[in-house]
């Protein structure tokens, strides 16, 4: 469990990092953030980069700020710092709620939000949470800066919309209005394990009626799953009356539950239904 040889670069600015990537066009370059997924993959020789670009020395990539519309989370902010940020707790409470289920303190102290999103593991909580929150991801390359919505960013298993020469620099999370409700539930075998199933829900309420119900799932399918096609079910509905069973049915019908060595498809389906019910009940208040 040792990686083969690789070049290690530690730039001090984004521009320098981008220049390194540009200069290594013919090589397999990987960006390393907290290394909590990449280093084990390298040790197992599943990932075999020739050049490793460490973003750890770049100033300004860990800041968490806000303006009147967005929270701005630096891609290198650690899970712990995001989890403990008052700004985030007040304006996007789903994030710390979900982080309670992510790994353990030692991993959260090193693992970063940006690295977690770029790894794009559909069993992981944050890609799904960012989809539910309709976050925007800011990526930079020598060609310029672009903004990708979470929905478009998470493409497939371990696959994002990032081009090989791009670096994720910031995550923008729209403010939750005071009338938005959130809920998060998860089952894992042990505390901190990958989810057998994890469910995030959010719904906006206005004078009693609701809109924009979104339900995200992790652990149950091979892609980052966020469902938002519920308007026909929730249209004009008071939040306490949203039709739980129909919502469950709609989500369930779009998932192909599969068995793994230790978790049967039947249980996964049962638990998913049960957790969606809990999440929706919580949203109903």
């Amino acid at each position: 469990m040792k990686p083969p040889n690789f070049q290690y670069k530690r730039p001090f600015s984004i521009d320098e990092a981008l220049a390194i990537i540009d200069n290594c066009k013919d090589l397999d370059v990987r960006i390393i953030a907290g290394g909590q997924s990449l280093i084990p993959m390298m040790n197992f020789r599943v990932a075999v980069p020739e050049v490793l670009v460490d973003l750890g020395a770049i100033q300004g990539l860990t800041t968490i700020q806000k303006d009147s519309d967005f929270l701005y989370i630096g891609a290198m902010a650690t899970a712990t710092s995001v989890m403990q940020s008052d700004l985030i707790l007040r304006n996007a409470p789903l994030i710390p709620l979900a982080y309670e289920h992510v790994a353990h303190p030692t991993i959260r102290n090193r693992g970063t939000l940006g690295g977690n999103l770029c790894h794009c593991d559909p069993a992981s909580e944050m890609p799904m949470v960012m989809s539910v929150l309709q976050a925007k991801l800011i990526v930079a390359s020598t060609r310029g800066v672009r903004c990708i919505s979470a929905k478009d960013f998470f493409k497939d298993l371990y696959t994002t919309a990032l081009e090989p020469d791009e670096i994720l620099t910031q995550i923008r999370v729209p403010f939750a209005s005071h009338s938005t409700r959130f809920a998060f539930e998860e089952i894992s075998l042990r505390k901190g394990d990958y989810a057998i199933v994890g469910i995030a829900g959010s719904i906006e309420t206005k004078q009693g009626s609701c809109k924009n119900l979104r339900i995200g799932l992790c652990g149950v399918s091979n892609v980052v799953a966020c469902f938002d096609q519920f308007s026909d079910l929730t249209q004009g509905c008071r939040v306490e009356n949203i039709p739980t069973e129909k919502i469950i049915e709609r989500v369930r019908s779009q998932i192909n539950f599969e068995s793994t060595a230790s978790v049967s498809a039947a249980y996964r389906k049962y638990a998913t239904e049960g957790l969606i019910r809990r999440v929706v009940d919580r949203l109903r208040g």
Partner: protein, 802 residues
Amino acid sequence: MIPNRKNSSWIGASLERREDRRLLKGRGRFADDVSLPRMGYVALLPSPYANARIKKIDLKAAQALSGVYLVVTGAQFVKTVGPMPTRSNAPVVQYCIAVDRVRHVGEPVAAVVAVNRYIAEDAVELIEVEYEEYDPVVDPMASIKATGNGVLHPDVGSNVVHKSEHSWGPLSQNLKKAAHIVTENFRWNRVAPQPIETCAAVADFNPAGEYFTIWSNMSQQSIIGGNLAISLGVQETQVNYHLCDVGGSFGGKAGLFHVPMIAAGLARLAKRPVKYVEDRMEHMANGNQNGSDRIYTASLSLDSDGRFTAVIFDVIDDFGAYFMINTGSHGNSLAQATGPYDIPALGYNLKCVLTNKVQQAPYRGFGGEVANFVLERLVDAAAKKMNWDPIDLRRRNFITKDNFPYRIPNGNIYDSGDYEKVLEKALMAADLPYWESKKKSAIQKGKRIGWGISTVNERSVLSMTEFWFLDKSPRFPQTSSPESVQIRIASNGRAVVTIYAPHWGNSPETMAVQLVAETLGMHPDHIEVNYGSTENGMISKGPVGSRYTVMLAGAIAGACKKLKDRIFTFAAHMLEVEKNELVIRDEVVSSAFSSGSSLTFAEISRFAHNFRLEFPAGEEYASGLIAQYTYDHPLTTSPNPDTNDLGIFYPIVGHACHIAIVEVDEITLQTKFLKYVAVHDAGTIVNPKAVAGQIRGGIAQGIGTALYERVYYDDQGQLLTVTLADYAIPTSLEIPDIVIDHVETPSPYTEYGIKGCGEGGRLAAMPAIAAAIDNAFKDKGLFIRELPVTPSFLYDNLHIDD
């Protein structure tokens, strides 16, 4: 802080562990801390197939890599290093690097020694192997009938490597007369100890004296020294084996030693010191450290009064690809096969089979925990079937305290016990009526509360006969399991105790300190402990089968008796009194009869070491104060060759009652502990805190076995659990606070009445947890026959949708 206890009161004190001083300061010395000049690092090429013939191995590219010292195949290695020692009968041959054939995924096929582990792994990737794949044999039932390439060891002829049927006591009569017979099937899945420190060895070979020096965390050094030497083709006096601190064994490091053997063999070939440390994947796939893997049909018969009249076990055990431990773990299951109950008849029918998986080794319980689980489940099944209270049914069948020593049908005896008292204490602490009263309100919150109880025995102080007494013609019918100690009073009056067993995370030094303090009347701060390597060593079996403290106490008592005599010889002359009137109190020797002068240990020892001419001529005044003692098992007897009497082989028998109270979430089906009570009787307790640690650790592993852990192989024999993310050991977040209490029924056969307690937590936990989950789903008629009870397993067994 050491409590202020004077003269003969160190047994029973919760002294801080002596081992912790260095471990907590980061100054432990583990095998991986050993570094020698010119040392090379080993990496092994693992087999990707479960069952295959090795057709061709090309080492050229690996050999050409810069930084590589040596690359060898199994066929080359075996020219200088013979097969691994085995207790199997007839021998199932196992090489530490495969020769011609691989029999499980992860079995090493070639080895590299390089300037560092990184380059060694680079070289491993360059080795090219051509295999001829055979169909893997994964299912033990299919393995029984396998033919052709499905037979793992063609020279053995069959995958069934042991088959025997035994009955003791009036079995058929009692079954015939029985008012009720409950029969159940059980599946005991593979788990593994997974210590935090994998197996490791550093080996050096000195060609001048043809002498091996080995530092390793594997095995019981003074036992393996000889076996390792045989495999290395040298005399055992040409091997010196050093003990290291060990990051956990739990039995797994007791048996096999392919790790030191590979390191030693490669060191000789590479002509330089070599380090081999398993990584986690290697440990999981090739550590040779999985526990029992059994399929049971078991029956318990009862008379109309609810008294147990017979128990019978039909067992098929999947040992994996090799059979190093022979039927030892079944000997162990037989040590307390009738549990704490008065059951006059016992049947045991055994089939041991081989499959394409890594082989078994001892794991805390060594089969005893499996038999306890099955028997306790049978008792619960009987209670359920007859609608009896499971506690009353147990109580009704307990061996009563005036019936000891008690002989069980197969010949083993239980020395002492008071099971009723243990049960009463546990019930008091658990307060079951309270939890019964909480059940209704919990249901309204979507939670189910359940409680379960186990009352089991804790056999301790193993005898070697269990490894072979089921064999028709045992190959090496070993009967010795001694333990030794050397105690020296230095010229300053302080004691230095040398022990020969490894420190596996237990507390051998603390035990030695307390036992010497008690026996010699010394202050613990005046006692040092060190470890003897094999070349300086005495004979030792080490900490297996919950034996070490009992055996060490015997050895220390013997050595202290000799030492006291030496001290009194010198003191009597110096004080001008008779030897037999001398007494020791707090390291001071004085006459019991006169209130005259006295001498400290320091004063006596200074003279004994430096002033020979102050004493008369004669051997009894020879300089120095040193004593050695080897203590043999206090009570074992030889088994009968026809197995109708297995003899006394595990007579020091403790007892435990565990009560688990769980809460299961209706939606997630996750099990959480509301309370866990463990009352143990391990005889006289040397250090209550250390005993509590053993109990807690055993329960933590028991919870792992009951709820989380399982080694998964797929139908191609591919190992699916190769990391600690896949193999789910519970963390501190899953383990509840455990209420621990003790009863002390001294053993009549051991020094101070001590009994072993190293495995008790895991010998008792699983049946209590299974019963608690049953109880939570009483209305659904749930009965757990297999572990671990994961949420998914529970769902699939409840058939909620039906």
